[in-house]
Point group: C2
Chain length 253, copies 2
Amino acid sequence: MNILVTNDDGIFAPGIYSLACALSKIGKVYVVAPNRQRSATGHAITMHEPIRAEKVKFFDKDFDAWAVSGTPADCVKIGIQGLIKEKIDMVFSGINKGPNLGTDVLYSGTVSAAIEGAILGYPSVAISLASFRNLYYDGAAEFSIQIAKKLIENELPLDTLLNVNVPNCRKEEIQGVHISTLGARKYNNTFIERKDPWGETYFWLGGELVDEKKEEGTDTYSIENNYIAITPIHFDLTRFDLIEKVKGWDIQV
Amino acid sequence: MNILVTNDDGIFAPGIYSLACALSKIGKVYVVAPNRQRSATGHAITMHEPIRAEKVKFFDKDFDAWAVSGTPADCVKIGIQGLIKEKIDMVFSGINKGPNLGTDVLYSGTVSAAIEGAILGYPSVAISLASFRNLYYDGAAEFSIQIAKKLIENELPLDTLLNVNVPNCRKEEIQGVHISTLGARKYNNTFIERKDPWGETYFWLGGELVDEKKEEGTDTYSIENNYIAITPIHFDLTRFDLIEKVKGWDIQV
């Protein structure tokens, strides 16, 4: 089995190392990842400038690995359609530093890379560790092996991928596995206004998560209660249940 | 009524000028748009560097207008949460140069800006002109007035926005309005490999649309047949119908 591994924290982030090492126990790993931090790039792709892809040494491993100047979605495209000569069987993206829950998935480069894998027709998984401090990647990495095995045994529709969030704790502290929906996740954004050394104004996007009730069944609830949250997601944004309603608006040219 | 207008082709693109002028007939227009071409940025946001927002003269108009160094989604965030002091009633993004049909919406900065508007709780519309050549924006711009009026008369759920694609032809050639689903839209990507003047390899994302059957009821079908396509879309990617199935996989920690 050939597995493409990517992420959005960059090719030299510890999360992708843990993930690639774990998956190398069950298949041949190819690493194609951004050459720098590319968090919050969403599903951006690079159309208007060239992309560089440099073959690199991946830590202490002999995996084929490329550091790419583009986005996570670019990495999956160029990995499968340009760099790797073998047939890929599966795409894994992560392990992300920090959760990708609820509406986070729209902004997440990690999830977008897995969505790109699904668009191209490959079983795809995004995996994130739900903390920003004292990260313990190895538990999530071990769990990725199980996910890969389940994806071989059980087929998902081609337009569907798995978004996995793992609590940042020891295996014995994890309460179990939930198959969850995406929860609500709102940020109270503030733009902090500052002056640069030349007196010109600039802004930083700041703000914090609004603490709200986490409904049972959602990924936010699962993570809060130390469960692994697995959410099947797809990329058809059509709001089917409103088609008839909007037809009733009788919009004319 | 206060209307925020943005796009992904940049603040000095002709499409946003047509849109802003049309909407100024029914409300006060605020323009907050990228200071350069930002197509295919998806739902990227700028978290890891500062954002500049420069007040600019918008063509021959007196609209309040800012050219922003960030992405289209940034423009909506910083417009509503930082720059504009009045209460915004509606967000319009466009008029995009080129269609945003089917899976295009995932990559589109234009659509992502409207999604951001919906995330923040505002009635939001993305509008695109379905051609890259000999663009005739004024018809689509006039049509945006009708969409805005319908959105006032008829409420959409807060998590839903409208993705509108307009055929690039004279009003009398348009066959009507379809409320459509997102169609399939596949690209046969190829990465063109070249050498730079110093002998180093670089790649360009190339390739073309795969011509496939356009199913009746989809936006791709509507546009092909010279209908305006309006698709209600949302941003909950959960594949609800597969939750129970994946529960049956019995994944253990």
